[in-house]
C-alpha cells in the first residue's frame, strides 16, 4: 500500500477515484509519516547552525497549484556577486509535508558564477516548500511558498 501511495499524488489518487479506482484513496489515508513543521524547522536550524534566517536575497519560484504532484518544477535564485564575502555557499530545499522533508542541497563556488538552480520535486500533498541559503559571511536567508495539490477538474 505504501508503494502505491508513493507513486500517486493526492490529485491523481482522487481523480482516479472519480473515475474508477478506490483502493488508492484508502492507501493515501493510511500514510502516517508526513514530516511536521517542527521537523522542518529543526532541519533548517541544523543547516543554519541555529541562526534564524532573514527574508530577502533568496527567491524561490514554484507554482501556486501543482499540475502534477509527482514532478513539480521549482527554482531558486540568490542575489550575490559570488566573490569574496558576497558568496552563496549552499541552498537547501525542504518540503514541509513530505514523508522526508529534505529535497535537495545545492552547493556553490565562485566558479558557479551565479547562485541559481532548478529542479523538480515530488509533493505528497498541499504544503509549504522552503528554501534556505547560507552565505560565506555566515548570514542566512529563507523563502517559502505554499504549493497546492488539488483534485481539479471543475474550473471553467
Amino acid at each position: 500500500m505504501q508503494k502505491i501511495t508513493m507513486k500517486l499524488n493526492r490529485r491523481q489518487a482522487l481523480t482516479l477515484s472519480a473515475g474508477a479506482a478506490f483502493a488508492v484513496v484508502a492507501g493515501i489515508r493510511t500514510v502516517p509519516a508526513y514530516a511536521s513543521a517542527e521537523d522542518t524547522e529543526k532541519r533548517i536550524m541544523e543547516f543554519t547552525g541555529g541562526k534564524t534566517p532573514e527574508s530577502g536575497k533568496l527567491t524561490l519560484t514554484a507554482p501556486e497549484i501543482a499540475e502534477n504532484g509527482n514532478t513539480v518544477p521549482i527554482s531558486v535564485n540568490v542575489e550575490s556577486a559570488m566573490t569574496g564575502d558576497d558568496m552563496v555557499e549552499s541552498v537547501i530545499i525542504l518540503a514541509e509535508g513530505n514523508p522526508n522533508p529534505e529535497v535537495a542541497t545545492f552547493n556553490f563556488t565562485a566558479m558557479s558564477g551565479s547562485a541559481a538552480a532548478t529542479t523538480r520535486m515530488r509533493l505528497a500533498k498541499t504544503q509549504n516548500v522552503i528554501a534556505v541559503a547560507k552565505m560565506a559571511d555566515g548570514s542566512v536567508f529563507m523563502d517559502k511558498k505554499e504549493v497546492k495539490v488539488t483534485i481539479g477538474g471543475c474550473g471553467g
Binding site: I65, E67, C154
Partner: protein
C-alpha cells in the same frame, strides 16, 4: 510620471468618479437611452489608440439568451466589490434603472420577462458590425483583442474541432488572442490551428513541460496611432488542472508572475509606450496581479465571465471586464503621450441583436458554416416550462436538469456536474433543441461515468472545488463555479478554510446523513481522467428528455450557504 491624483483628474475630465475602485460614473443617460444602433455605438472618439475587447464567446456564432448570475460571491478582501455585486445591488451601484435594457443585459433580475422585451444578445455578425464601424472610425489606430475561450462551447464548434470559430474570427481579423478551452482540442489540433492563424496566439505563461522554458510567444508589439503598444498574452493558468492534462501533456501553465514582470520589462525596453495584458487569469487573479506587478496600463480580463459597465482601477492599471457569450464588446479609447496613459474613454457595448444590424458578409459566412448541421441543430428534444440557465456559484437550472438525467438514466444515488460558467439560457415555454443542449455540454471529454464513491471521497471533492472557488488568495482560485450536485444536499461556508467549508451532507432520497465510510453510486461527466467510460452526456440528457418531454424544475434548495 503622473500621480494617481492627476490620473483620476484626467479621467474625471471624461466622467465623474463614483467611488473607490470605480473610476467613472456610468452614464445614467446611457442606461435610459432609447435603443438604437447609433445610440449604442456613437462614441466621441478620444485619444490616439483604441482597444476593442471580446472574450469568452464560447463558440456562440448566433445571438443567445444568457442570464447573468444572481449569486457571485467574493471572499476576503474582494467581498462585495465588483464583479461580486449582482442583481439589484449591481443596478444600484451603477445607477441603472430596473427593467431597462442595461438591467436586462447585466443582471438576472426579471430575466425571463425582460428577455421577451429586449430579445437575444450577441451574434458574431452583429459583433462584426461593431468592429467594422470602429475600424472605419479609427483606421489603423485600433487593436482588436480576443481573450480566448473562443473555439469551444457549441455543437458546430465540437463537430468542426473549432474550425467554425477560427473562420469567423479570421473574418473579424483580430490582432491577437490567448486561450483556455482551446487546449481541450488537444495539442496537435491547437498547433495546427495556430500555425494557420493570420494573427498572434500569445501565452507568456505557457511552458514546454519537458524543458521548462517558454513555448509560446509572450508578447507582440504594434504601432498604433504613433504609439508603440505591447500586447502580452496570459492563458488560463490552471488549464492542465481544470481540464485534462493528458490532452496537451507537453505544455505547462501557471500564473508565473515573475514572467509577467520580465515580459513587461522586456516590452518597455523594446520601446513600448502602452502595456496591455490580454488575460485569461480571471478577474480576481488579475486584480491581485495588478496590485503586485507595476507597469501594466490595461488588463483585458477574461475567464470569469464578468461584465462590468466601468473599468476597475488598481493603482495605475485599468481592469476591463467584457462579459461572455458575445453579449458585450468593450471599446476603450486611450490617450497615450510620452510613454504614459493619460486618460481613457470606455464603453461596455451591449450587443442587442434586434438593435444592431447584422453584417451581411458575416451573416453569410455563419450560414455557410452552420448549413451542414442546420437540421440537427433545430431538432426539438422537449419543452421547458422553467427558465434554464447555468451561471451562479452553487446551482443553475440547466445543471439541475443534467443531474436529474444522470440520476435517472445512469441509475445513481448522486450526480455531479462540473461548475462550468459557459452555457446559454432557454426561456420558459421554449423548445429545448439539440443546439440548446450542446450549448450546455459540447466538449471533448463528455463521457458520463457511473461509479461508487465513499461519503468521505464526496466530501473531499466538494471541499477541493470549494477551495478552488473561495480561496482567500486569488492566486489559488481556478475560476468556475461550485460543482453541481444532484441527489445530495449540503451546507457551505465560503469563508471557511480548506477542509472546513462543507457540512450537513444529506442523501436527499432518504433524508439520511451521508456516512463517510459508506459507498454511494455516483454519476457524473467531464472527468479529467483519460479513458473515462460512459455515453456522452448529451445522449444521457436526450434519453431523459425523451421520457420527460415537458421540463418543470422546482427551485433548488439543496445547497445552504452559511452566513
Amino acid at each position: 510620471m503622473f500621480s494617481r491624483r492627476e490620473f483620476l483628474m484626467a479621467t474625471a475630465a471624461l466622467s465623474a468618479i463614483a467611488g473607490p475602485g470605480l473610476v467613472g460614473r456610468w452614464s445614467q443617460a446611457a442606461a435610459q437611452q432609447s435603443l438604437t444602433e447609433d445610440g449604442l455605438l456613437d462614441f466621441d472618439a478620444f485619444g490616439n489608440v483604441t482597444l476593442v475587447h471580446i472574450t469568452d464567446i464560447h463558440a456562440q456564432l448566433m445571438p443567445v439568451y444568457f442570464r447573468e448570475p444572481s449569486v457571485n460571491l467574493g471572499v476576503g478582501e474582494v467581498a462585495g466589490l465588483p464583479p461580486h455585486v449582482t442583481g439589484a445591488d449591481l443596478l444600484k451601484l451603477y445607477n441603472i434603472e430596473p427593467g431597462s435594457p442595461h438591467a436586462y443585459a447585466l443582471t438576472s433580475e426579471d430575466f425571463s420577462a425582460l428577455a421577451k422585451t429586449y430579445g437575444k444578445m450577441g451574434g458574431i455578425d452583429r459583433i462584426a458590425t461593431i468592429v467594422k464601424r470602429i475600424r472605419a472610425e479609427r483606421g489603423d489606430n485600433m487593436l482588436l483583442l480576443d481573450g480566448g475561450d473562443t473555439w469551444q462551447g457549441s455543437y458546430t464548434s465540437l463537430q468542426t474541432k473549432g474550425q467554425d470559430m477560427v473562420e469567423a474570427f479570421n473574418a473579424l481579423a483580430p490582432d491577437a488572442m490567448t486561450g483556455h478551452w482551446e487546449f481541450t482540442y488537444g495539442a496537435e489540433r491547437v498547433q495546427e490551428i495556430i500555425d494557420g492563424l493570420p494573427f498572434a496566439f500569445l501565452g507568456g505563461n505557457i511552458y514546454d513541460a519537458e524543458w521548462n522554458e517558454p513555448a509560446f510567444e509572450a508578447y507582440k508589439m504594434f504601432d498604433k496611432g504613433g504609439v508603440k503598444v505591447a500586447v502580452l498574452g496570459q492563458a488560463f493558468p490552471y488549464t492542465p488542472i481544470a481540464n485534462p492534462r493528458w490532452m496537451f501533456p507537453n505544455w505547462s501553465f501557471g500564473i508565473r508572475e515573475e514572467d509577467v514582470v520580465k515580459n513587461v520589462e522586456a516590452a518597455r525596453a523594446d520601446g513600448a509606450e502602452l502595456i496591455v495584458l490580454l488575460s485569461h487569469n480571471g478577474f480576481d487573479v488579475d486584480r491581485a496581479l495588478a496590485s503586485r506587478v507595476s507597469g501594466i496600463d490595461v488588463i483585458l480580463t477574461g475567464h470569469t465571465h464578468d461584465a462590468l459597465p466601468e473599468p476597475v482601477l488598481v493603482g495605475k492599471t485599468l481592469l476591463i471586464a467584457s462579459g461572455s457569450h458575445g453579449k458585450f464588446v468593450t471599446r476603450l479609447d486611450l490617450e497615450v503621450q510620452g510613454g504614459e496613459m493619460k486618460g481613457f474613454r470606455h464603453r461596455l457595448i451591449p450587443v442587442f441583436s434586434d438593435v444592431i444590424a447584422p453584417d451581411a458578409d458575416m451573416t453569410a459566412l455563419v450560414a455557410d458554416l452552420r448549413a451542414p448541421y442546420e437540421a440537427e441543430l433545430k431538432r426539438e428534444l422537449a419543452t421547458t416550462e422553467s427558465l434554464l440557465y447555468r451561471r451562479g456559484n452553487f446551482n443553475g437550472t440547466f445543471d439541475d436538469l443534467i443531474c436529474q438525467a444522470l440520476i435517472d438514466v445512469r441509475e445513481a444515488d448522486i450526480a455531479l456536474s462540473p461548475g462550468f460558467r459557459w452555457g446559454t439560457s432557454v426561456l420558459p415555454g421554449q423548445k429545448i433543441t439539440v443546439e440548446d443542449l450542446h450549448n450546455a455540454c459540447a466538449m471533448t471529454y463528455p463521457a458520463a461515468y457511473r461509479s461508487t464513491m465513499t461519503g468521505s471521497t464526496l466530501k473531499d471533492i466538494l471541499e477541493d472545488v470549494a477551495d478552488n472557488l473561495f480561496n482567500k488568495d486569488p492566486y489559488y482560485q481556478q475560476g468556475g463555479d461550485m460543482v453541481r450536485v444532484g441527489g445530495m444536499g449540503y451546507t457551505i461556508d465560503p469563508n471557511g478554510s480548506m477542509g472546513g467549508r462543507i457540512s450537513g451532507m444529506t442523501l436527499l432520497k432518504s433524508g439520511e446523513a451521508i456516512e463517510p465510510s459508506k459507498e454511494y453510486v455516483v454519476a457524473g461527466w467531464a472527468s479529467i481522467n483519460e479513458a473515462t467510460e460512459g455515453p456522452p452526456i448529451w445522449e444521457v440528457v436526450e434519453d431523459y428528455l425523451a421520457k420527460n418531454p415537458v421540463v418543470t424544475l422546482e427551485e433548488n434548495r439543496s445547497v445552504t450557504v452559511a452566513a
